[in-house]
Amino acid sequence: MQWESWSAFWDMGGFAAFVWGSYGVTALLVVGELILVMRRRRDTVRRLLRLRRATAAGVNGRRAFEEIVE
């Protein structure tokens, strides 16, 4: 074990801001990317389901919807 105590661990020999700033931002970005990918999945499926309902409603409905989508 490298550390005398937990406070020594969190202090990182005086470099806490640099070490935890690196790990913290990386963790945030990874979690953020996971959330974005999950949300994208949900949004894509919902949009395609809406698109299909609009298509079922008729060609005009579909054209209007494609304009909204793209």
Partner: protein, 258 residues
């Protein structure tokens, strides 16, 4: 060769995954396993890096940034090469899925590229006295970030998917020249950035536990990249294939669940 010819069914069965319809369910099945592997390897890597590896004699504790910095930097370069590879395959074989793979990889590559720059800045300040210097390694890595962002902006800005695929493929292939420049920059120019931490032809310049911790974190970055890319590619495939029968069937199955 003869052995390969004996088993045509096998190569066929692997190639069929080049069809988006086949790859979509495969990606969904594989992604959770790679995500689980990423979690396990990050756990082991953090434990090795913070609790087993010793303090660095010259830099003190700040060197522990290395466990993400190196993994992220390697990943950012490798993901770009993968994008270039899939782009080349797409241009030569005209396979839709190849271009989609390249586009699914880009955001994660950009993320790792930013992480490499960010952690490098936080490591540079206490060791070099500056968050940023315009040396060859740092500048070419910054260019890599712009290449990622340019690729993403371009493929999203062009409405026709076929044209977007081709334009993106050209950026990916041309930009790939930058990757060996990043990698060898520390040899070719006099840089403030230190040389390669790991090389095949000389003994590692660091303690074994440090090296193992770094490699474990690199494996974790790999597993994470594969998992998140497989999840992202599923959305891209659904969008591209939305006029097909199989996506209609998939939407039937998803109706009311999302």
């Amino acid at each position: 060769m003869i052995k390969d010819m004996d088993k045509p069914e096998r190569s066929k069965s692997l190639l069929r995954f080049a069809a988006p319809q086949m790859f979509y369910p495969l990606a969904g099945r594989l992604a959770p396993w790679f995500a689980a592997a990423a979690v396990i390897f990050v756990g082991i890597g953090i434990w090795l890096g913070f609790f087993v590896a010793p303090t660095d004699a010259q830099q003190g504790e700040v060197y522990r940034v290395i466990y993400i910095h190196v993994a992220a930097a390697w990943m950012s370069m490798f993901v770009y090469l993968l994008m270039a590879f899939w782009s080349a395959v797409g241009l030569v074989m005209n396979t839709r899925l190849s271009f989609i793979m390249a586009q699914a990889l880009a955001p994660t590559g950009a993320m790792f590229c930013f992480v490499a720059l960010w952690t490098g800045a936080l490591w540079g300040k206490p060791t070099w006295g500056a968050y940023w210097v315009w040396d060859a390694r740092l500048t070419s890595q910054l260019l890599l970030l712009f290449l990622y962002l340019g690729f993403m902006a371009l493929t999203r800005a062009i409405e026709d998917p076929r044209r977007a695929d081709k334009a993106g493929a050209i950026i990916a292939l041309v930009g790939a020249i930058n990757v060996p420049i990043i990698y060898f920059s520390v040899k070719w120019w006099n840089t403030l950035h230190q040389g390669a931490s790991v090389s095949l032809n000389k003994a590692p310049s660091m303690a074994t536990t440090m090296l193992v911790g770094m490699l474990v974190m690199a494996i974790a970055a790999w597993a994470y990249t594969i998992a998140i890319t497989l999840w992202r590619v599923r959305s891209l495939i659904l969008e591209r294939e939305r006029h097909t029968e199989w996506v209609a069937a998939e939407l039937n199955a998803l109706e009311g669940k999302v």
